[in-house]
Amino acid sequence: MKYRDEYRTPEAARAYAEAITRITTRPWTLMEVCGGQTNAIVRFGIDQLLPEEITLIHGPGCPVCVTPIDYIDKALEIAATPGVVLCTFGDMLRVPGTQSDLAAARARGADVRVVYSPLEALAVAREHPDCEVVFFAVGFETTAPANAMAVYQAEREGLVNFSVLVSQVLVPPAIRALLERPGNRIQGFLAAGHVCTVTGYGEYEPIADQYRVPIVVTGFEPLDILEGVYRCISQLEQGEHRVENQYSRAVRRPGNQLAQQVMETVFQVVPRQWRGMGGIPESGLGLSPEYRTFDAEARFGEVSDREEVVGECASGAVLRGEIRPDQCPAFGTRCTPEQPLGVTMVSEEGACAAYYRYRRHAGGPSDE
């Protein structure tokens, strides 16, 4: 397949790995921000090709994983309301709320529909004028433009039975929050390529400057990630800290300005709670005052803003990159995709799920 297979050739992967080994003189710790990158690293065994001095730690870039439990509970409450159709992306279905999840709610009779695009939810609203149709708008800057577009369209069409439950989050404030944490170990970042196709990477430049960390905008194929690591290590070894763009076949510095415009029209920047990371100022998007009538919270009550209760699940530490999933004592024993203690074990993009799927080695803590 074009634009994919040429980024998966074993010879080129080995050549990159050797080049990285050649330039590495001391231990370095890098974080890949996006869950898609984590998945590729674990699935293809990219970290196995790297010299042992390099530690890759997995970041908070799984939109499902960082959505606060209060939003899941709100979605469940809305779904249970008679006359409501709740539309959601597929991977939200199994995310546990306090009592239940959306898949179980659907089994008990709630009208929960999986959509592939928020515009499909809009179509459901057009077809069912007698129902309240609520779209659960979750994700990073990648999903924000399409979600904003759905609201924008609804407003233009005067679709009064459509609303969105918004839990959109932004990457740069999360990177800042990680760097501000006491005991931070992260020395360089692989930034999420797809997020930057939308936002560009100008916003990352002050972060690289202020915290003196290299940030490499990186794609998702094995060779993209290896090149991202190479560029990051190369800067670190030379004492540099710039923003570089490895994913230049998709990302330009200004990003997608049309997408940014619709986001800015419909959304405004707000503080957000992140599961595992707590409250981060200016780290989320909420509907701007002109579009507030489409806010599901205005129709069904506000989401509570409680402190997260931390139980046995160490997903917070995993999301902050403080531990590897298989270092959690519950990993693979008391916590599996079928019986998850936390969201990082549920989501396709979650680091714990990726380790569970691809990394349960013989004799490890992960035996059945």
Binding site: R4, G139, L223, P337, H361
Partner: protein, 345 residues
């Protein structure tokens, strides 16, 4: 599937009614006008409560129920699936599929034209697979209680394999052969159900795989185990066989054929082709010395003409399947957890 030019009617009705399931005249007329002519065999002609079969020796016996939405999808339909699925399960036991039963649960309001298409498709699939549908049942449920129709088929077949064909026979060093490209059925159905607007038409691989299997057995290939790669895909097949055999398995991802369009849809939706369902694919575990001969035999049959060797069973933790990734790393291959859900971004 035969061409239908005018609506099918029975007793002036063009849809299934509750009366069709009542066991009275309407039931009889539905059976006489649609089912018996399509399946056409002496057992059904006798109109007995069951079929009397003349059999001897070891037999395989299996059953499966078929629920799929939509009923028709690119490359196949629920009727052909209901025949092929059960035929293939018999073949996987090392048996020559012979007789099937068919139980139908019809939803009130189902157009008879649709029912006719499904029945014709079953009849055609059965003819091609060399099996007879010799007994059956029919029930009607109220509108809204079923997705058009559900089918259950059970089947029996004569065992032709000299040695047992089952996971317990697999030994360390045995090789894994895959009968062709994977993932087409699951993606075809998902694309049709979710109305994914794909540029390329991905057709289900739904087919009977009995003939290449029987050929392997007749030619004396040391077939240890066979597994059709339906729900759960190749990953589940490998893990289940490895668990029962008490062995580990190792495969090379680069050797697993996946069509480019299937692979592209999987990439988009975040699905692993190894987890996607097939309806006309199987893996055969054979003794290492028989690999070349087995591949040559498989490649003579249309449904397995692209057969390849993809890996081996070996000593190790029971049920652990590892894949060598395209770039040379390794990963675990596991069963799918829960249902397949497309991802956010």
């Amino acid at each position: 599937m035969s061409d239908i030019h005018c609506p099918v009617t029975v007793d002036g009705q063009d849809v299934v009614t509750m009366a069709h399931g009542g066991g009275g005249r309407a039931t009889a007329r539905l059976l006489d006008s649609l089912f018996r002519p399509a399946f056409d065999n002496p057992w059904l002609e006798r109109q007995h409560d069951g079929a009397v079969l003349d059999m001897a020796g070891a037999m395989a016996f299996t059953t499966d129920s078929y629920v799929v939405r939509p009923l028709f999808f690119p490359g196949s339909d629920i009727g052909a699936m209901a025949v092929h699925g059960t035929v293939n399960d018999l073949a996987m036991c090392g048996a020559e599929p012979q007789y099937l039963s068919a139980g139908f649960i019809l939803e009130e309001g189902l157009p008879l034209t649709t029912l006719r298409q499904v029945i014709d498709s079953m009849a055609s699939a059965a003819r091609k697979a060399g099996v007879r549908i010799v007994t059956g049942d029919l029930k009607v449920v109220e509108r809204g209680k079923a997705d058009g129709l559900y089918i259950n088929t059970a089947g029996v077949g004569r065992i032709v394999a000299a040695d047992p064909v089952e996971p317990g026979q697999v030994r360390s060093g045995d090789r894994v052969l895959l009968s062709g490209d994977i993932g087409r059925h699951g993606i075809a159905v998902m694309a049709a159900r979710e109305k994914l607007d794909l540029e390329s038409a991905i057709e289900s691989d739904c087919a009977s795989i009995a003939s290449p299997v029987l050929a392997l057995l007749h030619e004396g290939i040391a077939v240890r185990c066979l597994r059709d790669l339906t729900r759960g895909g190749l990953a589940s097949g490998l893990v289940e066989v490895a668990e029962t055999a008490g062995l580990a398995a190792r495969i090379q991802e680069a050797d697993i054929p996946v069509r480019e369009d299937v692979s592209a849809v999987c990439e988009l939706l975040g699905l692993d082709p190894l987890h996607v369902a097939n309806e006309g694919r199987f893996m055969a575990v054979v003794a290492p010395e028989d690999v070349d001969r087995a591949l040559a035999i498989l490649r003579c049959h249309r449904v397995s003409k692209a057969a390849v060797e993809i890996g081996r069973f070996q000593e190790g933790r029971a049920g652990q399947v590892t894949a060598e990734s395209l770039i040379g790393g390794t990963r675990i291959v596991d069963r799918l957890s829960g249902e397949q859900l497309p991802r956010i971004c």
